[in-house]
Structures are given as structure tokens and as C-alpha cells.
Symmetry: C2
Subunit: 141 residues, 2 copies
């Protein structure tokens, strides 16, 4: 029987679908203050990057690299932040954030800063990033 990956309910509520590879779901965090993506490896019951098999980690990190390059190209950001934390949502996920010296949390990290500005539709930057990734064989979600 085929198993179906289940996205954590809080991650699902806090983000919008963007695009995917065979192993990674890429989603946009619903906070209009930041250019903030979350990549979720479609593997059940993992919490840390090291819980991935070495082969899966290689594939996931290749996807993180492609997303990072697309974010940099699509947004002309000042810095990338890439992080696997998961202290609150246990399901393994990787934050990939384009940071700007003008953003609401600079130079601190974005987690736990103030209140999110709600986001209901994909912003222009996310559509640009998706366009770039689709040329690299990602599929729209």
C-alpha cells in the first residue's frame, strides 16, 4: 500500500503551498513582514536533519541550495538564513529566509518577533521564486 506523507497541522495552517520536488514540499510562511519559505522533507516521523538517511539528506540539501539560489536571484536579498530548529513544530522542516537590512527583525532572527502580518495569497516574490524553480524541474503545488 502506498503511504501518504502527512504535513503537520500547524505547519499547514501557518503556510501556503508553493512548489515541490520528489522529496521536498516548499511552502510560504503566512507572515507578510518577511520573505520566508519552509521546506518540508516528505518523510514521516523525523525531527532532525540527521534523521534523514544520508542519501535523503543529500537530496534535501540540494533542494535547499536550489531554493536559496532562487531566493537570492528573485529577491536580491542582503543575506540568507537557513535553519532547522523544530523546537515548537516537531516535524522536520527547514526555514529558508531572505533577509533585508530593512526588514522587521534585522539583524536578529525572525522567529518569535512580534505578531505576524496575515498573508492569504502568494506575494509577487513567491511567484518569482516559483517561476525560477519550475525551470529547475520543480512542480507547482
Amino acid at each position: 500500500m502506498m503511504t501518504v506523507f502527512s504535513l503537520d497541522q500547524r505547519l499547514a495552517a501557518d503556510s501556503l503551498p508553493l512548489c515541490q520536488t520528489d522529496i521536498s514540499l516548499l511552502r510560504v510562511m503566512r507572515d507578510a513582514r518577511f520573505v520566508w519559505l519552509v521546506l518540508v522533507p516528505m518523510r514521516d516521523d523525523l525531527a532532525d536533519l540527521v534523521d534523514l538517511s544520508p542519501d535523503d539528506e543529500t537530496r534535501v540539501m540540494a533542494d535547499v541550495r536550489a531554493v536559496s539560489l532562487a531566493l537570492r536571484k528573485g529577491t536580491n536579498c542582503d543575506k540568507l538564513n537557513v535553519a532547522s530548529l523544530g523546537n515548537m513544530v516537531r516535524q522536520l522542516h527547514v526555514h529558508i529566509i531572505a533577509r533585508f537590512e530593512s526588514d522587521a527583525a534585522w539583524p536578529g532572527p525572525v522567529w518569535g518577533v512580534g505578531e505576524a502580518t496575515p498573508l492569504d495569497d502568494l506575494p509577487d516574490w513567491a511567484q518569482s521564486v516559483r517561476q525560477i524553480l519550475i525551470t529547475k524541474n520543480w512542480s507547482a503545488s
Copy 2:
């Protein structure tokens, strides 16, 4: 002429040397509240993981994986946090932190939380982690 990698001055002041591979320096953050390592790829003038060549990124991520596994084994932590931020110190570095539900920042991230508790000598946990890594062909620094 051989080039010599220069560690950022603030990173040097805020951490203690632990061990290294051909490409990575591993250092202990001088904050006794946390089990907090920083891995610095010995490549000049890079800010983001994607600035590494693909081959170097593979080597660095293999080192991050070895350190993560050693931390988990050496500390029996509740969660690993792995992050490349660099908004304050530009030189590329990767935080690898063993988190505990009892630690001073849980479940938030450790950056920018309160004042560091000074640390002048390697704590026991760091010596355990170094012992594990030396069996994986790391060298003491």
C-alpha cells in the same frame, strides 16, 4: 604561496577551539547556558552556504552531520538546532546546538536571549563530543 584562513575576530572572541577537519573548524560558544557549537568552513570571503562550491558544501554538510550525531550521542539532547544565519557576523558559520526542554531559551531560539554566562574552559560535554569526533578522524584544535 599558501593562503591562511582568517577566523572572524568576533567569532574568535566569542568561542573556544575544539577540533577540526580539513575544511571545518569546530568551536564552542562561550555561553555556559547552552550546549552550543559553531562550525566554520575554512574558506575566505563567503557569507552563505550557497557560496560554497557544491563539493565543499557536501563536505561541510557531512561535517555538520557528524557533529550533530556526536552532540546527540554525547549529550542525549531533546532536539538539535542547525542554522546558518550570519546577520551579525558575516563570515560563513553554522550553529549546531543541542537543545533541552530545560534550557534557558526553550522553546525559542538561543540567539539574542539575555546575557551570556561566561565560559573560559571547555565544559565536560564538549570534551565528550571531541572524543567522539576524534574517533571519526577529526583532529583536536
